[in-house]
């Protein structure tokens, strides 16, 4: 079985994210990191490999992004992927969900995976949708927000929470599964794995090499348009203070509760 894990490079959690008013896109100039939600996808792949219910021949990390995104691929490899694939092309810049999903599906098609795993959301765009977009292009069944995967005779038995409680769903392979962050506790990469990551095979592809119609991608090929960026409505912000002396803190809270007749 071949598993492809989608991974994305996003601004580091410590960076204050902002939209660039000129380009109306995310300012990606600061420190970057592997999308933390994607580490759960790689860990899920590792656990399927180690679980012994399926023969996993290969785990391939796949990203679409600028040159800098190779660092996210290195991290993915350090966490367990065997090799990686980088779709990189200036034509892709400014792609929306529709164009990104199409492009990722095209690059995945060239790999013919039995299972595609990805994170529940990216830390920057937070669109929650890429998995289901990719799945429809690949004509594969899919499920998002999955917190448990069991392999039973070539079928996945998945659990996830939806509107009315927990659903248990059988999904035939090949399939696309986006995993929730409660599915596992990603391992820390070993120093050896970090050092070795740059030596693992990394392929770079341009749009033409995987059959992407360049008219369907990038800002020009996107089907959504950011018209305006506005600040959120003004809201009176509450008081936030640090707990230095807990007795004082507690007295302050009690007074606040009392004032509001909550005690």
């Amino acid at each position: 079985m071949k598993i492809c894990c989608l991974v994305k490079e996003v601004p580091d959690a410590a960076v204050q994210k902002r939209l660039d008013p000129q380009t109306k896109r995310l300012d990606r100039s600061g420190e970057k990191n592997l999308n933390p939600f994607d580490t759960h996808g790689i860990e899920a792949a590792m656990q399927i490999r180690e679980g012994g219910r399926a023969d996993v021949d290969e785990i391939v990390a796949v990203t679409m992004g600028p040159e800098s995104a190779v660092r996210a691929l290195h991290k993915a490899v350090a966490l367990g992927a065997d090799r990686s694939l980088h779709l990189s092309d200036a034509a892709l810049e400014g792609s929306d969900v529709c164009a990104t999903g199409y492009s990722l599906a095209k690059v995945l098609e060239s790999e013919q995976p039995d299972l595609v795993l990805l994170g529940q959301q990216s830390d920057d765009g937070e669109c929650y949708t890429i998995g289901a977009v990719v799945a429809d292009h690949l004509k594969m069944p899919s499920l998002t927000q999955v917190i448990k995967i069991e392999v039973e005779d070539g079928t996945l038995v998945c659990e996830r929470q939806a509107e009315y409680g927990y659903d248990t769903v059988e999904v035939d392979l090949p399939a696309v599964i986006s995993v929730g962050d409660a599915i596992n506790e990603p391992r820390y990469p070993s120093l050896k794995a970090i050092m070795g990551a740059k030596k693992k095979p990394l392929d770079t592809k341009a749009t033409g090499e995987v059959g992407i119609d360049s008219g369907e991608v990038g800002e020009a090929g996107s089907k959504t348009q950011v018209l305006e960026i506005n600040p959120p409505p003004e809201k009176e912000s509450g008081e936030v203070f640090e707990d230095e002396d807990t007795a004082e803190t507690v007295a302050k809270i009690v007074a606040w509760l009392d004032e509001r007749k909550l005690i």
Partner: protein, 325 residues
């Protein structure tokens, strides 16, 4: 014609989801402005009467795909795509939840269409719909327009108010949908399982919400003791419910309950959007979190940056003392 098609989700009892009804009300309002039609799509064995009753929220027609199962996204993508293509709808609208995200995303691929999610408001500009989408932890709101048709709009939980039902009845139109081969390769084994005890949080005036910051299951007793002292109940985030620390019935948020108590005391909760949407209407919000950058501090009324393990037990004692004295 610029019509709007809403997917109306229902549970195993046949009751329609409140967020779907809100989406129909919103579609009807927008269709009024556009001079077009709001319609709904339902799947499964929905009775004539129940389907027609969606007209009370403003749907002129209800398309019913009886052979399409409810609960999994891909068969419903087949149904939505067919009705949109055959009838020429210009927009697909979904209320907040989970399935709408998956169906909307599938439609994006199927119809090569633009999608916006977490939408809090929709407006009409030059005869077209524009979606307002808060981004980056609600630090900005972007207005998004669509290139071509259809445009897909996925609402945020509770974004669209449900109108008081009127006297309208919708025309029910049965549609035959051929499922895609891959739509049948996922099968529901069990739907809507309620994990954990059946606790009641909706009637409480005071809720103490516990999150991953509690550290472990046993530490929920800190929240329970405080709730008891305050005369309230305990609520939870998805993170701790998924982890099996607390019952699903106590979960607040996008795939849980929506509450508006007099006091919501969030302990060890980061304040993710999906949690916020279920409790932001609380009269007063108090947060205890050790991370000064936690998003919850952006929308609480009183915030304490500190360790809940130190603060909660002392607060419980102090509340008891105050009440006793």
């Amino acid at each position: 014609m610029a019509g709007i098609l809403v997917y109306a989700l229902h549970d195993d009892e046949g009751d329609f989801n409140k967020n779907s009804l809100g989406a129909i009300s919103e579609a009807a309002r927008l269709a009024g402005e556009l001079g077009s039609e709001a319609a709904a799509l339902v799947v499964g064995e929905v009775a004539d009467d129940a389907a027609a009753a969606l007209g009370a929220y403003g749907a002129k027609r209800v398309f019913r795909a009886k052979s399409v199962p409810e609960g999994l996204a891909q068969p419903i993508v087949d149904a939505m795509a067919k009705v949109i293509a055959d009838q020429g709808f210009s927009y697909a609208l979904f209320g907040g939840g989970l399935l709408g995200f998956e169906i909307g995303a599938g439609l994006t691929a199927r119809m090569n269409a633009g999608v916006t999610m977490e939408v809090t408001a929709v407006k009409v500009a030059d005869g077209r719909l524009v979606a307002e989408r808060p981004v980056l932890q609600d630090s900005a709101i972007v207005d998004v327009g669509y290139v071509g048709e259809p445009g897909i709009i996925i609402g945020r939980l509770n974004a669209f108010d449900t109108d008081e039902p009127g006297a309208g009845r919708a025309e029910v139109v049965d549609v035959e949908v051929e499922l895609s081969e891959w739509s049948s390769r996922a099968r529901m084994r069990t739907r809507g399982e309620q994990r954990g005890a059946d606790v009641n949080i909706e009637d409480a005036d005071i809720l103490v919400g516990g999150g991953r910051g509690l550290g472990e299951k046993d530490n929920f007793k800190l929240a329970e003791e405080l709730a008891e002292a305050l005369g309230g109940a305990v609520a939870a985030t998805r993170a701790v419910v998924d982890a099996g620390w607390y019952p699903y019935a106590a979960q607040i948020g996008q795939t849980g309950k929506t509450v508006a108590p007099k006091l919501y005391l969030a302990a060890g909760i980061s304040g993710a959007i999906q949690h916020k949407v279920g409790m932001q209407s609380s009269e007063s919000i108090l947060a205890v979190n050790k991370d000064p950058n936690a998003p919850i501090f952006e929308f609480c009324d009183l915030g304490v940056v500190g360790d809940l393990h130190k603060i909660l037990p002392k607060l419980t004692e102090a509340v008891k003392a105050k009440k006793g004295g």
